[in-house]
Amino acid sequence: MKISLTVNGELRETEAWGGESLLYVLRERLDLPGSKNACEQGECGSCSVLLDGTLVCACLVLGAQADGHEVTTVEGLADGDRLHKVQEAYVQAGAVQCGFCTPGLVVATVDLLEANPSPSDDEIREALSGNLCRCTGYAKIFDAVRQAAAS
């Protein structure tokens, strides 16, 4: 089937198989590999994107369900060479180790700060509870979120 969706402000059209996820469409059809593919069951959050401005796991949305809708991926956050302030904070705080979880965490952090510009630690914990990082132990990630909130 054919689907068309707006990704990072650009209207994109692609063929897709009915049963494939939005994540597959983004990575394999539209050449946007920023959103990562790991658990494929909504457990790890590494595929987090904004669908019509709402934080979702792209692995749990059908590509066909995004037809006619707007998607923002991690690739859409920076302004050319200028990183988004959340990305900048992750770099400055050293919140990236292997980097696999980073795109999902960055998108989730952007979503959090949009709704709540100065979150408490408990609010950060709840907002990022769907994003797993197996390297950092989360301390630097928390530093990054606090830094981004303050910037």
Binding site: M1, W17, G18, G19, S21, E40, Q41, G42, E43, G45, S48, T54, L55, V56, C57, C59, L60, V61, L62, A64, Q65, D67, A108, D111, E126, A127, S129, G130, N131
Partner: protein
Amino acid sequence: MDVHSPRSLAEALALKAEIPDARFVQGGTDVLVELNFDRSRPAALINLNEVPELRGYGFEGDTMILGAGLTYAEAMAAPLAGKFPALAEASRTVGSPQIRNRGTIGGNLGTSSPAGDALPPLVIGDAEVCVASVRGERRVPISDFVLGVKKNALAPDELVVSVRMKPTGAPQTFMKVGPRNAMVIAVCSLALQVDRERGELRAAFGSSAPTVRLVTSRIDEADAFPARVAEAASPIDDVRGTAAYRRHALRVLTGRALERCFA
């Protein structure tokens, strides 16, 4: 696999009548996992995201009508959180923000898992499930809707359209046992309500029997209630916990929930 995206309830029901083996998909938090892991290949998918009749909520007299497409994120926010506190607390324990933004109470009913977090609050609230097909609509009491592990009263051409439930104002709460606060399938769960006006205690537990079960008692027999709830369970040993632990935990949860609701 064809994906149909009907634009109205009538269109969705006509499609299901035409292709009874088609699978409805709304939030996708259950269906996509099955597709991703090759556990099911339905004849077709009917995407409900574009059906406006399933969204939101409304009043009919003193009864609230919750659309089947109501997300957990919506159920845990104002004004619904004030009307149905146990449903709001249960919704907050579902998955993560990403999951709560997509998963719906209609999906929880459709899946009919004994671990469905929305189900115990609907059972203590005496909810009615409104289902529809091209043949018409009918209302099924929640206790008659879920029939077994992932089995329910839906005919092949039917869809859960909404849930009807009355806000009572009686204190109620929800509790869940799991290894962490997020991303947890309940080891066991409990919704409890203390209705002083009717002099009744109502509890419903999840993940401790093939279906969510209701246990009621007179309010003046509250001391014996934790043991009664534990006795009503028929839990199993599985990867998440043992039957003995679940029974014990239900007794403890019931005691705590009573304390919270009587406070």
